[in-house]
Symmetry: D2
Subunit: 336 residues, 4 copies
């Protein structure tokens, strides 16, 4: 008898995260049960036979108790939420897995694209061109800089940093990384120099903010920290808006202290009258770094690859495991 | 007695291409004579003692004859022009050197920035944001693609291709290169697949046009060739406008057949009413890829490094040598 | 109060795996209890207060029950053994960690060294030299080959394969990998081609055997498989001897069918009269690939780094976690 | 009419440097004239029609005068010799080309193999094994070290250094390079640190000697310099024996001061009673680093590729050009 996989990926539509052939692989190897989104009764009815749940439904103690054969719960959104009774899951050796790594390559490529845009004024000069005020040759290049051999700083070295690291390698930067959650040896192994936040900010021409927010990292980059950036620095923000004080950021961009690109914003959608919409020294991106078709489809591949491994008595290798030490830090998903 | 270097770099201002310390090195090691720009008599007066000429003055037979001790002529603009009596120079073993490689890293970084912009719609979505019509998360990403593991084509593999190659390495592309001037072995040595132009165009999601124009390469990319590009391809033009038929290009961009970014234009400045200024599917760049401060200053460093080597009885290693086989192909510089 | 770490690393001597400064860090942050090796009573006495056990003592259910505050058991030898009641440990969310990755870089460098030795006959010609029968220039090079652009196969892609992969990158091999425990996507992400064992063996000039032995992989390379290797192939064996049929191997080496280097042997020490000792076409290595001083000291660093993270409420990042799905496959350590 | 190529590659046999298909390409595109080796009259007879000479015959002024259509002289041995009247060749814009780069990859791979052998005692322990005195596991590893993150020094950064550089990249060394013939910028561009010879020697655990001998570099590494090496350093000699004082080297190896591998020797063949033959701390290689079949065949490919380019009016790109500034330094080939 095939193991039963309960598929409730919402808000992810099934077809966004599964290629047809991936879905076919899933159905071939497993009995797939698909309760309607939000149909709690149908979900409850499916649990007694469930071997895996793919999605982010609420799974409190009672529901886990209804699923004695459950071996895996797979989040297909990207961040872990407090929707699962993690301690019970761990006690029962139920794998709680997440798809965070699926987005990392997309975010890393976007982040590099933003950095090169800031280095060379690509979007700014494209706008100028459209308004008939383009400047040819060296004239528009007064503030253009190379990434090659530059001082580069990373704030945070998780999935995103690991995906960005190889893209930076051919630029041979002097690379400083701040990540208080990691031993220095991990950063040295990545051929980077571990450094404090102040050092990273004050000595880097390019700074990539890749940290996920926790209690500790909220407004990690406040006014004081932003003032550490060298004149003319390029700041790329692609992880969580809460890490940065955007009011302080807007002030400094308006004053021309440095340049920035941001993919995340304290309020999304951004207020129509936000000053960011008219600042010259910024590249605006609407939370688009990770959610591209190739990344979504990677999620489905990862899910089926790991379910197949587990069904064959092997450990999952593609999805990320929820860490018992960290589950208390997981936050509710933003409304909407 | 120090060798005499005649410095006539115009239109390059001296301070644009020489850092103060580089100029100091030059003056320390050589006697530097600086005729006024355009002062032919002063130049003629300097030639009898000249050991090297740095700049692009006309050096016909008569002038070379006036300079019996001349060992080097160094072009500091970027392309060789027919300003020198090359056969005489070669017969006399006068090194004719150019600074083309100085711009290669800057162009390569700009080209990668343009490609990532096209991959992800960075400047297009920045514009949308400023007009209050930004689309969040997956909504604006329908046509977003990864560079990682993509099919990538290069048209031309000279200085620019060589500088771009390592930047592409971490994306592990399937890389096809068309360069009819190079043996296949050179491309294989670069871990690329030699291919015909049609194959490069028809099988690549990303195409970088890096060829310099010659009689053969004028409109290398005409309507027929552009039609070979796959639907939704990303075309990056950073070498010479004459390589591409821009009218055919504009039509296809207007029709949404593919996306393009261009740093070069058939007429610069571009006409105010050019259709390119309002096309959505293009990134506009005003011949800014190479001429950035760091590239200009590299020229001076290369000049002084190589003059020092030659003065010490060694061969130059940083500048590029004019090839006897190619000088007949050098073209006049564009007016202005 | 500091958490209590019970340190029983034997057979690893403490000073082999801990640098003085690492040991100082351990003592600074933790209360370290060190029962004598083999003193079961002292170990039992330490367990009630234990927060972590560093070493490979027997930890059956009863002992785990005596240690209610236990959070981590850290194996410092390299392979997991069936010394722990894993199910109980998992149920109690006790981290069971291993130091396998500490050896990977050392093994990878040794494996590359062996491959280059086989490519060029380094040790063979050194021996010839010492016996006065060296051959100069091309004469000794009839069978010398390049690693650059060669067909290379890996059998197994765990810690060792991952460490070897980047060392092979500059040789730009055509890389085929056989690992039935991994989804193809993992291998493609490593820019390798997933392939069956027969294809890997029959199409590779260089084959690295990096698989750890399990029921399935015993004599994975038998006579039939060895016969698939191309004439003149180079075979590097650095993981577990049980993977390969050494009798079949010796026959083929004696016949000059291909060349091999081996760091592991079915019986260690090898019998004095083993035919391997006098075969020309082999490089003999006495299980020396991983156990070098730098690797041993890395273990201590990993242990203390991860203990510090866990004591700070974070997940370990340097050591490897025992996988619930795999513990049934762990084998007893070899005698002696 | 096809251009005439005079083929006198001796002492290289034609079939060593030309694959059959390469020779076919040569004959297809050119009229190939092959005077017997040493038949001066036949060579003289061929010169009046010659467009290119492939080989190292004596080409003094008189012979060049007999060859008015000569465009290229291609050395297929590896080093330029004073066999050509270079000034006349340069005055007539005859390309004088050499195949030195053909050997670089082979030498680089051999050099890395020797370094890894020294790092891990591969050939030493293979010898021990054959004599029944092998040491298992950590016992034979007391002096084993990693290349990863090591201090590495290069003496000389020509063809060999450039080929070795990428092979070292994944080891992420701290790389210092001494090359007095190169501007610092060339070394920085290779992501290396320019340094003086004493600094390279005294701070590197691994030293690769890649310098070609000139008047200046004879005994560049004398007793004083060898004494700068750190205790236990690993020295790899693969360029020219004259660079190093081998008597001083033997003394230090006998004393166990450091370890070395050498592919070149002051006298080849080495004297039967040379102390090197019995030293433990050395790896002996009989001038085998470059001359492997793949390198020889690369020569033919390079020759035909470049002849085809030149015949098509293009500059050669694969062979190396003799530099007017350096020809006075070319030395006679060693006897035999």
């Amino acid at each position: 008898m095939k193991p039963v996989v309960v598929l409730v990926p919402q808000p992810q539509p099934v077809e966004r995260i599964f290629r047809p052939e991936t879905l076919a692989r899933l159905r071939e190897r497993f009995t797939v049960v698909e309760p309607e989104a939000g149909d709690a009764a149908a979900l409850d009815a499916a649990l007694p036979d469930a071997w895996a749940v793919v999605g982010q439904p609420d799974l409190p103690t009672e529901r886990l108790d209804r699923a004695p054969g459950l071996r895996a719960v797979i989040n297909v959104e990207g961040n872990f939420y407090p929707n699962v009774d993690y301690p019970t899951a761990f006690t029962r050796s139920i794998r709680v897995l997440g798809c965070g790594p699926a987005y990392a390559q997309a975010v890393a490529e976007h982040a590099l694209g933003l950095a090169l845009d800031l280095a060379r004024g690509i979007s700014r000069e494209d706008r100028a061109f459209r308004e008939g005020r383009e400047r040819y040759l060296g004239e528009g290049n007064a503030d253009a800089v190379l990434l090659r051999h530059a001082d580069v700083g990373l704030v945070g070295y998780g999935n995103l940093g690991r995906a960005l690291r190889p893209l930076l390698a051919p630029f041979a930067p002097t690379l400083r990384v701040y990540d208080p959650w990691l031993p220095d040896a991990v950063l040295r192994e990545a051929d980077a120099t571990p450094a404090g936040l102040d050092e990273v900010l004050s000595r880097s021409r390019f700074v990539f903010v890749l940290a996920t927010v926790t209690g500790d990292s909220e407004h990690l980059l406040g006014a004081r920290e932003l003032d550490l950036l060298p004149e003319g620095a390029r700041l790329v923000l692609v992880s969580r808006a809460a890490v940065t004080d955007y009011d302080a950021l807007a002030e400094r961009l308006a004053a021309g202290r440095f340049l920035a690109a941001s993919d995340v914003w304290p309020t999304e959608p951004m207020a129509a009258d936000s000053p960011f919409r008219s600042l010259e020294g910024v590249v605006l991106s609407a939370h688009r770094a990770g959610g591209i078709p190739a990344a979504f489809l990677e999620i489905g591949d990862m899910v089926v690859d790991d379910l197949e491994l587990m069904a064959g008595g092997l450990a999952p290798v593609r999805l990320q495991q929820a860490a018992p030490e960290l589950v208390a830090r997981y936050r509710n998903r933003p409304a909407g």
